[in-house]
């Protein structure tokens, strides 16, 4: 399990990284390496060039601009978990990251890597779907912004040209009183989820005014449970209401694989939506 030979590049700016991508065929970006390196070691991926982003400046860190959180693609999961802005504005992120791998992998994994790898069950894409995040990619012609909904093109394929780089993720965070709940079911702690659910709620006077429910793992990319989100608006924030959303979740279009059937995924989606909404509802600051 040793990687096939490649040429290693160590750019220092995003522009250099992009021009290396543009000028080399069969090039692969190396971010945290926690998905790419196993694939290199197993020779599932055999690039001629590896372009390391770890010394590129200016594409990591978290900033708050006009109620927008902007996160550099190279921000590591451990740093997201420890970041005060993230903790206060989008506390669902650190909560979800507890489920992502292990602290040793989180020390390397980046948010950009997770979004580009785009595992259907990965937590960060599921969260970014919930937030309707915008992804900024940089190519030889400059930058473009992609709303999350247009980011997944197919199973584990992001909307990214071979010479493009994801540099930034930004989303509008929710009001301070919002409630949040992240629930997933994985066989073991740190495993990829079979199904994961992120739920965000805003409640006014006991009634739901805004809801986002995002489901990972059920299908080839995270999906928003739009029908349920709409159904919740105006309803009382209580378990019976959440049951309505859970029933909708049980009908969600799902995939089967060698381990798990689509029916089981649907069943999990129902259970987890219910639980995530209960959590979110409990956490809404109703004062």
């Amino acid at each position: 399990m040793k990687p096939a030979p490649f040429i290693y590049h160590n750019p220092l700016t995003p522009e250099d990284a992009v021009s290396l991508l543009a000028s080399n065929e069969e090039a692969k970006i190396l971010a945290g390496g926690q998905s790419l390196m196993p694939m290199l070691n197993m020779r599932f991926v055999v690039p001629d060039h590896v372009i390391d982003l770890n010394n590129v400046t200016g594409i990591d860190g978290v900033t708050n601009r006009d109620n927008l959180l902007e996160i550099g693609a190279m921000t590591r999961q451990c740093d997201l978990m420890a970041n005060d802005l993230v903790k206060s504005k989008a506390p669902i992120i650190p909560e979800a990251l507890e489920h992502v791998g292990h602290f040793q992998t989180r020390n390397r994994c980046t948010i950009g890597g997770s979004l580009c790898h785009l595992d259907p069950a990965a937590e960060l894409p599921c969260l970014m779907a919930a937030y309707d995040a915008n992804l900024t990619v940089q190519g030889p012609e400059g930058q473009r912004e992609i709303p999350f909904i247009e980011w997944p093109l197919a199973y584990m394929i992001p909307n990214l040209a071979p010479d493009e780089l994801l540099t930034k993720i930004s989303f509008r965070y929710w009001s301070l009183n919002h409630g949040f709940g992240f629930e997933e079911f994985a066989r073991r702690h740190g495993d990829f989820a079979i199904v994961a659910v992120a739920a965000l709620l805003e409640v006014d006077d006991g009634k739901i005014t805004r809801a986002a429910i995002s489901i990972g793992g059920a299908n080839i990319s995270p999906v928003r449970l739009v029908k349920a989100e709409e159904a919740l608006i105006g309803m009382l924030a209580n378990e019976d209401t959440y049951k309505v959303a859970a029933d909708i979740a049980q009908e969600i279009e799902s995939i089967s694989d060698a381990y798990v059937t689509s029916q089981y995924r649907q069943r999990l989606a129902g259970t987890l939506v219910q639980r995530a909404l209960v959590k979110a509802g409990d956490r809404v600051n109703r004062s």
Partner: protein, 161 residues
Amino acid sequence: MPDIREIQVSVNGEDHSAKVETRTSLGDFLRQNLGLTGTHLGCEHGVCGACTVILDGEAVRSCLMLAVQANGHEVTTVEGLAGEEGELHPLQEAFWKHHGLQCGFCTPGMLTSLVAFLRDNPNPSERDIREAISGNICRCTGYQGIVDATLEAAKVMQGRV
């Protein structure tokens, strides 16, 4: 033509400069180029944790990093945990006392992971420890001795024993 680079790495406080093929993992580099065979490779795909080393203070998988990426960085391996005079680290002592190892193959990764973990979580519960080592597979011990050792080492390191 193999892609070879010269790198400078500080390992266990000692500076090394070496030529390394870019496809070489940090784990292979430590074991083969530097002869530090205490770092073990159990899966080479990031799950077993046997290869864990401490890079600039943080526990990372050495099978999922290229040696070139360690250029200019500091690495601590299991060989670097004991004191200058060879006195065992409190965690090593506790592993010994609580039978935290059998075959010893997972042990280096357990130790390096837990040393970093205890620094950030000096007062962990059993649950915290079990989650912390969920990325370190041990086929022999059933983990209990490791957990007990860590609980004790945490106390010792805080001077609570």
